[in-house]
Symmetry: C2
Subunit: 313 residues, 2 copies
C-alpha cells in the first residue's frame, strides 16, 4: 500500500508554555488529536486527500477552541464572518468563500464551490445564496455565540484594537486561537490543502485575510506541495506565501524544508509577517514552520509516526 500523510494547524500566535494551564493544554491537544484522526481515518481507508482535508477541518470548525466555524471570533459589528478555501493538487481546481455567516462548516461550502460551481471564489450574501442551493448546513447565531469570543470583542472595543488572528488582546487573556488548516497526501499520490478562519476579533470594513485566497493562504499542486497558512493575513497576501513555497521548489529546485525556511524565517520576518504554515510535498515529507511563539499543530503518517505540538520546543 502506498503511503499517506496528514498535517493540521489550529493557528499560530503568542502561545507560550507559561501562559497555558494544564487543563487548557489538554483540551487543545485533544482537539488537534481528534481532527488529525478524523482525516487520517479517511486516508487509511483509501479515501482522497481532498476528503481528508475537509474532514479534519470540519472537526476543527466544530470545536469552539479554534477560530473557525463554531469558534469564529466576533467582528466589530458583533457578527461571525468566516472565510475558507480548498485546493486539489492533481487538477489545480480550487474553491473559496469569504464573509459567510451562519454556515456550520465553511470548508464544506468552499469544497462545493470547487466541485459544483463554475467559479472559484464567492463572497458574502451571494456565497450564502449558493450555500442554500447546495443544501449546505446553516446554524443559528446562538451556535456561534461563544462567551469567551464575545468577551474578546468587548475587550478589543474598549482598547480600540483590531486583533489579528492570534494576538493577545490583553496580557492576561490566555485564550489564543486561530485559523485552522490541513494538508494531506493520499495513497493515489494526490495532495490537497484547505484553510478556514473566523478572521480577526473586532475586524471592520469587511476585511479579507489570506485564508480564502488561493496562492496566499492555501495552495496545492502535485508537482510541488500542499500549503495552509496562519498568521497576520495582510503580510501573507503581499508575499503570496503559499505559492511562493511552490515556486521556490519548482523553479529554484529547493526542497520543501528549504523553501519553508526561506519564506517563513526569512522573507516573512523581513516584512514583519508573524505566523506559520503547514507544508507537505508529494513524497509525504512534512514541515510545520512558524516564526511566532507557538503554533497549534499535528501530523500523522501511514507508518504510524504522529506528533502534536503547541510551543516552540
Amino acid at each position: 500500500m502506498n503511503k499517506y500523510a496528514i498535517a493540521i494547524h489550529g493557528g499560530a500566535g503568542t502561545i507560550t508554555r507559561a501562559s497555558m494551564s494544564a487543563e487548557k493544554e489538554l483540551s487543545y491537544k485533544k482537539g488537534l488529536e481528534d481532527a488529525i484522526n478524523a482525516g487520517d481515518k479517511i486516508l487509511a481507508k483509501g479515501g482522497t486527500s481532498l476528503d481528508a482535508v475537509e474532514a479534519a477541518i470540519r472537526c476543527l470548525e466544530d470545536n469552539a477552541l479554534f477560530n473557525a466555524g463554531r469558534g469564529a471570533v466576533f467582528t466589530n459589528e458583533g457578527k461571525n464572518e468566516m472565510d475558507a478555501s480548498i485546493m486539489e493538487g492533481l487538477t489545480l481546481k480550487a474553491g473559496a468563500v469569504t464573509g459567510v455567516m451562519n454556515i456550520k462548516n465553511p470548508i464544506t461550502l468552499a469544497k462545493a464551490v470547487m466541485e459544483k460551481s463554475e467559479h472559484v471564489f464567492l463572497s458574502g450574501l451571494g456565497a450564502m445564496q449558493f450555500a442554500e442551493t447546495m443544501k449546505i448546513e446553516f446554524m443559528p447565531d446562538e451556535y456561534f455565540f461563544v462567551q469567551q469570543r464575545y468577551d474578546q470583542l468587548t475587550q478589543a472595543k474598549e482598547t480600540d484594537t483590531i486583533t489579528m488572528d492570534h494576538t493577545e488582546i490583553k496580557t492576561s487573556a490566555k485564550d489564543k486561537t486561530g485559523t485552522v488548516g490541513c494538508v494531506a497526501l493520499d495513497i493515489f499520490g494526490n495532495l490537497a490543502a484547505g484553510t478556514s478562519t473566523g478572521g480577526m476579533t473586532n475586524k471592520k470594513y469587511g476585511r479579507v485575510g489570506d485564508s480564502p485566497i488561493i496562492g496566499a493562504g492555501t495552495y496545492a499542486n502535485n508537482n510541488t506541495c500542499a500549503i495552509s497558512c496562519t498568521g497576520v493575513g495582510e503580510y501573507f497576501i503581499r508575499a503570496v506565501v503559499a505559492y511562493d513555497i511552490s515556486c521556490l521548489m519548482e523553479y529554484k529546485g529547493l526542497s520543501l524544508k528549504q523553501a519553508c525556511d526561506v519564506v517563513v524565517n526569512k522573507k516573512l520576518v523581513t516584512i514583519g509577517g508573524e505566523g506559520g504554515l503547514i507544508a507537505m510535498d508529494a513524497k509525504g515529507n512534512i514541515e510545520l514552520p512558524f516564526n511566532s511563539e507557538g503554533m497549534y499543530r499535528a501530523m500523522k503518517k501511514s507508518d504510524g509516526e504522529m506528533y502534536i505540538g503547541i510551543y516552540r520546543d
Copy 2:
C-alpha cells in the same frame, strides 16, 4: 533623466477586426490614448508610478466603453459590483476591494486601502463604509446605468449564460469590453500595477474574479516586474498568474518576455484559461501577451515610442 514607461489594457476577449465598425474602433483607440496619456503625463512630470497607475485606470473607469467604474456590467440582480487592486513594487504594499457599489473610481478606493488602512483587502458593504470615512466619491445608480450593459444582462438572462469578462453573449453583439489595468515604471525606478473590473454580466453568488487578488490579477515587485491581468478570472486565480511571472523571473532567471510566454501561451492555454496581461520589468521592457482573439492595449515610453492595439496583428 531616467526613463519611464506605462502600459494599459482595456480587457481581452473575442475581439476581431471583422466584428468592429470603424467608428467603434476609433472610440476604443481614443479611450486607450486618453488613459495612457493621463498616466504618461504624471510620469513625465516626475510623479510616481503608483499615481500614474491610478490616473490611467481612473480614466478607463470613467469611460463607459470599458467594464470598470462607470461601464461596469450588471450582475444577475441588476447591480454593478466592482473589484479593484493596486500594488507598489518598492514596498510590496497593496490594497484591494471586492463587491463595491456606487464607487466612482474603485482603483482610488483600493489605493486608500493600501495607504490609509492597516489591511490589504476589504469587501462589500464594509469596504463601502471605509470609502465613506475616506471621503471617496460615490455616484448614484444612474451614473452606472449604461443601456448597452443592461441589454447585455437581459440577453444573458434570456440565454441563462453567465458571461465572462469579454465573451460574446450573442454573435451579433459586437460590444465586447473588459477589465482594465495599468503597469508603470517611474523615473525613480519604481514599478506599480493596478487592475479594475465590473466583473461578469449576469454573475451570481458574489463571484470574485482575479482582479482584486494580489498575486493572481495584480502584482508588482521592483526586483522582477509589474503585472495586470484580464481574462477568465477563475483560471487566473488557480494559476496565480501575476506572481507566477514574477517567480519565473526571480527563481528561474527567465526574461520578462520568456516568463510571459510560458504563462500566457503555455500554462494558461493548457488549463483553458483565455485572456492576457500587460507586463513591465524594472528596465521598462514591456510585454502585452494574450491568447484570446484580441486585447485592448496601449503603451508609451519616455523616448516617445507609443503603441495602441486591439486585434491579434
